[in-house]
Structure formats: structure tokens, C-alpha cells
């Protein structure tokens, strides 16, 4: 039996945090290509955000970019109020904004650890809280957290990053239970090693040897997993963490 369901309904609206670069950028591009109106945020990469907007505009896609510090409660609240005023729906939130500040736990300052938690966890919580308030009203929606396969296996020198990403798939499980009665689905994607600025300085040969598929993922490959998790096509998927790592965790 062929399931004839579009990826997204016409006039769907999505918010992607951290959408100006890396995985977030690929997610914005993929959603826009599916006809979704995308609001994406950036913190300091104004030039990259503008370049992405121009690219999407030239392709006839609908998008808006806004500077947003996701760890700032007032900013996040005002941002989502703006989203709500701009239209009657919010179908998808992708919490892609994230940072890494590597270091060994034994020598790490509390500030360095806290900063990563503030952006990666508190930021995702604040955005999800505000988006949920909108989605619950509409009795529909999909929230996707970008976690990390590293949070399942650990990474030396990445204690703060792993802790933050582990918090996200844990939050996914709890939030999915809260949101389900209102028709809102919540899932997370745990990418393995992805070819972005964050992994540029990592030893490529060692990574390629460790990954069964023998290479890093492209941001576009991760974006496809996000699209599926967010799409109404997978209407029964909620509370799940989808690992997209080329077989890394299985090895």
C-alpha cells in the first residue's frame, strides 16, 4: 500500500536555531526545498546568514533570519512572540544551535562547562518551551533536538559537550510524554562525526578508520534524518533518539 502523504503540508512553518552554518544550515536548506517557510536564527554569523537568505531567495524559497542568543530567556520569548504574530502556525522546531568548548574535566573552569550547558541545554529548553506553548494551542507540531552520538559513548576532552547532548535525548523522552496528549511529537537526532567547522581540526584518518562506513557524514545527510523526524509522514514517531553515525556506535 503506497502511503501518499507529503513531507510537509502547504504553508508549514519551521524554526531552526543555529541555522546559518553546519548541520543547521543544511536543515534550513532541506526544509525550504520542501516548501516550508523557515525562520532560522544565528548568533554572530550575520554574513553567513545573509548568504543563506540570498541563496534561498534566489531559489524561490521563503525564509527569514534573525539574530538570537538562545540562552537569553527574554530574547527567546520575544522571538517566539514574533513568530506567533507572523502567522497562525508553527509546525516544526529544530534545536540545532550548539557550541563546543573542549577541555579536560579535571582542569576545566565552571564557566566553560556552564557556557556549553547554557547554550546547548538551556537554550534548547527555552526555545522548546516557547514553541510548545504555540504548538499545544494548535494541537500539532514536531520538536527535534540535535543531540550527538558522542553523548552515548563519550569523548575525551568533551565532557561538557557530551553532558549537554546527553541531556537533550533525555529531555526528548520526558518531553515526548508531556507533549503527546496534545498531538506534538518530540524526537532527537544523534549525528556521529559530521563534516563541519566543529570537526575540521579533528584527525580525519583516525575518524575514517573508526567509522564502519569509512567517512564523516555530510550535513545534508543529517538534515535528511531531521526532515523525516519532523515530517508528518512519521506521525507515529515520538520519544525516539535516532542515531545517524555511519555505524560508529555499533562498532
Amino acid at each position: 500500500m503506497k502511503i501518499d502523504v507529503k513531507m510537509f503540508e502547504p504553508d508549514s512553518v519551521a524554526v531552526v536555531t543555529g541555522g546559518s552554518r553546519g548541520i543547521g544550515r543544511a536543515i534550513v536548506q532541506a526544509l525550504a526545498a520542501e516548501g516550508v517557510k523557515v525562520f532560522f536564527t544565528y548568533l554572530s554569523n550575520a554574513d553567513k546568514a545573509k548568504a543563506l537568505l540570498d541563496e534561498l531567495g534566489n531559489a524561490g524559497h521563503c525564509a527569514e533570519a534573525h539574530q538570537l542568543d538562545v540562552s537569553d530567556e527574554d530574547q527567546v520569548r520575544e522571538y517566539f512572540r514574533m513568530i506567533r504574530k507572523s502567522g497562525k502556525r508553527l509546525d516544526v522546531l529544530v534545536n540545532s544551535a550548539g557550541i563546543a568548548l573542549d577541555g579536560l574535566v579535571a582542569t576545566m573552569s565552571a564557566g566553560r562547562f556552564r557556557k556549553v550547558i547554557d547554550v546547548n541545554v538551556i537554550g534548547a529548553f527555552l526555545c522548546s518551551r516557547e514553541a510548545l506553548r504555540f504548538m499545544v494551542e494548535c494541537r500539532a507540531g514536531s520538536v527535534v533536538f540535535i543531540s550527538s552520538a558522542l553523548s552515548h559513548r563519550g569523548g575525551r576532552g568533551q565532557g561538557n559537550y557530551c553532558a549537554s547532548k546527553g541531556a537533550l535525548w533525555s529531555l526528548t523522552h520526558a518531553l515526548a510524554l508531556e507533549a503527546a496528549p496534545y498531538g506534538v511529537r518530540v524526537n532527537s537526532i544523534s549525528p556521529g562525526f559530521v563534516d563541519t567547522d566543529m570537526t575540521r581540526r579533528l584527525p580525519r584518518e583516525a575518524i575514517n578508520a573508526a567509522v564502519p562506513l569509512g567517512r564523516l557524514a555530510t550535513p545534508e545527510e543529517i538534515a535528511q534524518a531531521v526532515l523525516l523526524a519532523a515530517s508528518p509522514r512519521l506521525s507515529y514517531l515520538t520519544g525516539s533518539d535516532i542515531v545517524v553515525d555511519g555505524g560508529l556506535l555499533a562498532s
Binding site: 520569548r77 512572540r81 506553548r133 499545544v136 494551542e137
Partner: protein
């Protein structure tokens, strides 16, 4: 405070309380007339006997109608309709004079 200003303030408060009472009845589908709820009546426990699940509906309603963001830390405000109105006006005093 001059007399006219005081009247305007009182009228604004009454209007918000009225809006809140209607919102409570509509959003929670209560089988009562909104005017039967007094501004001092406890919303939770004895009184309207709403529960914590209803809290979320009220918080969403207040966000939607008044653009005021509450969390469970605003528990005291949920003591009565009057207290909720005060809490809303703390965030948005301009609501007193809106039509």
C-alpha cells in the same frame, strides 16, 4: 492619584478580570457562567477546584490573550482571578488603558 485616573484604573482591572473569567470557563470547558466566578474566589483547591493540569491551559491562555509569560513559579498569582489580573498588569501595565 486623581479621581479620573483612579476610575480608569479600576475599570481597566475589572475588564481584565472579566476577560480572565471568560477565558477560564471557555478554555477549561467549565459548565458555569463566567459571571458566577468572583474575583476573590480561589482558583485551585476549594473554590473552582481546578488542578495542576488546568494550570497549563491557563498559562497558555494568558500567553495567547495577554502576551504575558507565566511559569509555575507564579503559583501565588493563581490564587484568584484578581491576583492573576494583578500579575498580568505587572508585566503589561498598558493593558489598563487598552480598549
Amino acid at each position: 492619584m486623581d479621581y479620573e485616573k483612579a476610575l480608569e484604573t479600576a475599570a481597566g482591572r475589572l475588564r481584565i478580570c472579566s476577560q480572565l473569567r471568560r477565558m477560564i470557563v471557555d478554555r477549561l470547558d467549565l459548565p458555569i457562567d463566567a459571571d458566577w466566578i468572583s474575583n476573590d474566589q480561589p482558583i485551585f483547591g476549594r473554590g473552582l477546584e481546578l488542578d495542576s493540569v488546568d494550570t497549563m491551559e491557563l498559562i497558555l491562555g494568558i500567553e495567547s490573550e495577554f502576551e504575558v509569560s507565566l511559569t509555575e513559579e507564579d503559583q501565588v498569582a493563581f490564587g484568584s482571578v484578581g491576583r492573576l489580573a494583578e500579575r498580568i498588569l505587572d508585566d503589561r501595565p498598558a493593558l489598563l488603558t487598552l480598549p
